[in-house]
């Protein structure tokens, strides 16, 4: 009985201490690839397309680079509030793209702000491929 309680509490402590379903950026990309592959004509993600997408505006005032800057391996700045944004490139910030819920949350918000719509799996995968190509 005592041991069972110990095991349950240990499990509870671990569940709290560990971040929600940790994954590597490569695993995050693999999830995107699985979805993108369902689109007809999918031939893989592209670093060049991702960079182009990241640095361009898409009908609104902002691009990804407006806040994350043209160097997403460096510190960015929220264009409205001025608050510092930690680097987005995984090489420069080990926390990035390791939590699926967080990835989904920010793609949803930021795509709405930048494109007034959701991003396609291809667009997300291209951007992540570009970000993963950057050195520290």
């Amino acid at each position: 009985m005592f041991h069972t309680i110990m095991h349950i509490s240990l499990a509870a402590v671990l569940a709290i201490a560990l971040p929600a379903v940790a994954q590597t950026p490569a695993e995050t990309l693999a999830v995107l690839k699985q979805t993108a592959a369902e689109t007809p004509g999918f031939h893989g993600f592209s670093t060049a397309r991702g960079e182009q997408f990241f640095k361009s505006t898409h009908g609104s005032d902002w691009s990804c680079a407006t806040c994350h800057t043209d160097n997403p391996a460096g510190v960015g700045k929220h264009t409205r509030t001025g608050k510092a944004i930690q680097p987005l490139a995984p090489a420069a910030n080990a926390d990035r793209f390791t939590d699926q819920a967080k990835v989904d949350k920010w793609f949803k918000r930021n795509c709405n702000d930048v494109l007034n719509r959701a991003c396609t799996p291809l667009e997300k995968g291209d951007v992540l491929t570009y970000l993963m190509s950057l050195a520290k």
């Binding site: 509030t81 001025g82 608050k83």
Partner: protein
Amino acid sequence: MRIHLLILTFLVAGAAQASGETLRATNPRWKAECGSCHVAYPARLLPAESWKAMMAGLDKHFGSDASIDPATTAEILAFLEQNAGRRKPDPAVKPQLRITETHWFKREHDEVPAATWKNPLVKSAANCAACHTRAEQGDFNERSLRLPK
């Protein structure tokens, strides 16, 4: 006389401490979610009605999509309501969403020179930390106040 002064000191210290503590009310989800794009503004700075309206419209949050999942929204709203400002707003008027438009904010900041507001280091009146150097810690004490030059 001395006793009166002592009592007064205690009262003032007590009030300051109380207000400091309520401004410092904290919750890990509130801190993480509300503090990712700006300082996590203390719950006490707006009444519960305002927080309710704010949390119901996060998909259009001052021109940005700041939406969060329903479970997290509910937890943060409960925290905000529990620690909200006590002043009852006029029910006929739409809830105030901008802290900077409250009478309280305007009164507290009426001595700030116009040039300070225009300073690019301040950028916006929503940027508490430009002057309140310990705003991130929920400390808005005048001792930690530094106007940027």
